[in-house]
């Protein structure tokens, strides 16, 4: 379950999501997709391409611009036993349906003591590329982690994208499925047959004895790049991809930290009351008193996202700043290290669609 079988077929992250949806729609007539633009020619960056042709206009359809009511519609259909997948082109738009997600979806099973369930998948895409600005680049996973009753996936690889999507669709609970615009072109081995990636299981991506780096979504890619940079100066990093943010596999993280004595968390959002602080707090609660460890978190600068590229470069953590932070933790704040890192291909070469 936890590592890809030796099947050589390669898909992009976007294609893996499309395949997951297709297979589940074929398997279960209750699965349907709705959202702005899901049936247009661009098919949500290809992740819903032509599903309306294959399954009919009532199983993959465009909606009015009405995030709040459409979320309620999805929940209502879920209450009736269907399995809606509601797609949002930007996670920022979820702020328009927080009431339905947090006051309604998250609480229905509980308020009614199990009389109903809400098997809903909410796909939310983090919009970073460049120039997206303050309102098209945000990630709100911490909002969903804060309230009981929601599950959250944030897969990084094509393999996990497909398996997590299938698990999300089959789960009887509301699942927020967080994607990242910069991951869609990433390629990886993806088995053709349907499979589930389990909730609550983190992936230890690399072994290393000096520092544990926990990264979320696209930051996993940057953390792995940082790991290679660190290798050059003899620092071994253990990179962990939590995959499932709720439920969260804190055991894998804490076990790693107890080995390395250093915890660096890199998030795709702000620090305050965010995922990164949560990991620090959990690690402290588990290890506090028992074992001293260094801890640091990285994420968005404490500002809204600026549009201009030079400031955007300061806003986001990247391979270089992650490597430098890990380096400082291992070698001490004073230790200097000069590294040059090229802008990642997916960002440097980005030409849209936005």
């Amino acid at each position: 379950m936890s590592s890809p079988p030796s099947d050589a077929r390669t898909l992009t992250y976007g294609q893996a999501l499309l395949e997951a949806a297709r297979q589940e729609m074929a398997r279960d007539a209750g699965v349907f997709i709705m959202g702005l633009g899901v049936d247009d020619a661009k098919g949500m960056y290809g992740t819903t391409a032509n599903l309306h042709k294959e399954f009919g206009a009532d199983r993959c359809f465009d909606t009015p611009l009405a995030e709040d009511a459409m979320t309620g519609v999805a929940i209502g259909a879920a209450l009736a036993g269907m399995r809606p997948i509601h797609v949002h082109q930007r996670m920022d738009f979820l702020l328009l349906c927080m009431n339905q997600l947090v006051n309604m979806a998250a609480k229905s099973s509980y308020m009614f003591s199990g009389a109903v369930s809400v098997p809903l998948v909410v796909r939310a895409i983090i919009g970073r590329s460049w120039g997206q600005g303050a309102q098209h680049s945000q990630a709100f996973h911490s909002y969903f982690m804060h309230v009981p009753g929601l599950k959250i996936f944030a897969p990084t690889t094509p393999y996990d994208a497909k398996g997590a999507m299938i698990a999300a669709i089959r789960d009887p609970n509301p699942v927020v499925f967080m994607e990242h615009r910069m991951l869609y072109s990433f390629k990886g081995i993806v088995p053709e047959a349907a499979y589930e990636v389990p909730f609550g299981r983190a992936r230890l991506l690399t072994h290393g004895k000096h520092v544990t780096i926990v990264a979320v979504s696209y930051m996993v890619a940057e953390a792995l790049r940082a790991k290679h940079l660190l290798e050059e100066v003899g620092i071994e990093a253990e990179v962990i991809d939590p995959v499932s943010l709720a439920p969260l596999d804190i055991d894998t993280i804490v076990t790693s930290v107890s080995r390395t004595g250093r915890l660096l968390v890199v998030d795709t959002s702000w620090l305050t009351c965010g995922f990164s602080g949560e990991i620090l707090a959990l690690a402290l609660e588990r290890l506090g008193g028992k074992q001293a460890f260094q801890a640091k978190r990285m994420g968005y600068a404490p500002t809204p996202c600026p549009t201009t590229k030079p400031l955007e470069n300061v806003f986001y953590p990247n391979a270089r700043t992650i490597a430098l932070a890990a380096h400082a933790m291992v070698k001490g704040e004073g230790a200097s290290w000069k590294i040059e890192v090229q802008e990642p291909r997916e960002i440097a070469e980005f030409k849209g669609p936005f």
Partner: protein, 323 residues
């Protein structure tokens, strides 16, 4: 008084009366009980508004589904939700319809198509449309009835839902219970034009107002609307004029807040549907119904009193649905 509508049988009138009476008596009992603090759940009473829920639910089929609001006692009972489970729920007991987790504001009885209610105004409206979408998708002949107060129409969710429901021709009957107030705020101070039907019609949804909480007129209207909706007409709106006799929340009197003319309330009380319908029945029949209602009520109270509280560990149950 005579029943002038030949299409409505004496049996039906008796059912109307009994259902309204059940709701009235349950809520009067809640008022009596409230000072004892046995019910530690804020209650939004529907006394005065019973006829709307009763007329609609009598005209629906048992397999139809209803969505309502925190002012949900009337709807729950009108849809034949389990009175014992409701009373136990108000008491916060383990045999409540949601084992004490819901309280008065979130009544639910899935066996009879009573969907759980919400305490956030207007939030069930879009869910009702979504449920109707599912019914349509499955080619079910069931329909959804969705109740909301006129206050809910202020919310964006109402607008978004009307548009979507009409766009997709969903099998849903929207019932706006216009009692003229949201808490102590008059609809005139909240709506730029108080034209509930016209606003609904601007989405291409046929809408009609029924005055005076008239049970029989409402019933007849819902019968024809429901038939049209089942036949694929798409949504309909009914604006049901009604009046809340008691305070917005809690067991108290309403007049003390002095936000509306006494005469307004008096007129509604004088035109009480329970009384009107009761007078259409032979006295013996009425007495028999009243007795049955009291017996059912007494049994429900006893049931609630005797039910245990949920155990502490239950707090962790049902955060997530099991597979």
């Amino acid at each position: 008084m005579k029943n002038n509508d030949p299409s409505i049988s004496a049996d039906t009138i008796a059912r109307f009366y009994k259902q309204i009476r059940r709701i009235r008596r349950v809520e009067e009992t809640v008022i009596d009980l409230y000072p004892t603090d046995k019910i530690k759940s804020p209650v939004h009473l529907s006394i005065g508004q019973e006829s709307v829920s009763v007329a609609v639910c009598e005209a629906l089929r048992p397999t139809d589904v209803v969505f309502g609001t925190y002012r949900g006692h009337a709807l729950y009972l009108a849809k034949y939700g389990d009175m014992k489970a409701m009373m136990a729920e108000l008491y916060g007991k383990a045999d409540g319809c949601a084992r004490g987790k819901a309280g008065s504001m979130h009544l639910v009885d899935m066996k009879v198509g009573m969907m759980g209610t919400s305490a956030i105004v207007a939030t069930s409206i879009s869910q009702a449309a979504g449920y109707a979408f599912a019914l349509k998708q499955r080619k079910s002949d069931a329909i959804v009835a969705c109740f909301y107060g006129e206050g809910a129409m202020d919310e964006g969710a109402w607008h978004e839902t009307m548009n979507f429901a009409a766009l997709k021709k969903l099998p849903v009957l929207f019932v706006c219970e216009n009692n003229g107030y949201a808490i102590y705020s008059s609809v005139k101070d909240r709506m730029s034009s108080v034209n509930i039907c016209a606003r609904s019609e601007s989405y291409g949804i046929p809408a009609a107002r029924i005055e005076n909480g008239d049970t029989r007129k409402l019933y007849a209207k819902v019968q024809s609307d429901a038939a049209a909706i089942r036949a694929g007409s798409g949504p309909r709106v009914i604006e049901a004029m009604t009046c809340r006799w008691r305070d917005h929340v809690g067991p108290g009197e309403d007049r003390v807040h002095r936000y509306r003319p006494d005469a307004e309330l008096n007129a509604w009380i004088a035109a009480d549907e329970m009384k009107k319908l009761g007078e259409l029945l032979p006295a013996t029949k009425r007495a028999e119904i009243d007795r049955d209602v009291e017996a059912e009520l007494a049994a429900a109270i006893t049931f609630a009193e005797q039910s245990p509280y949920p155990e502490d560990r239950e707090i962790y149950d049902h955060v997530f649905a099991a597979e």
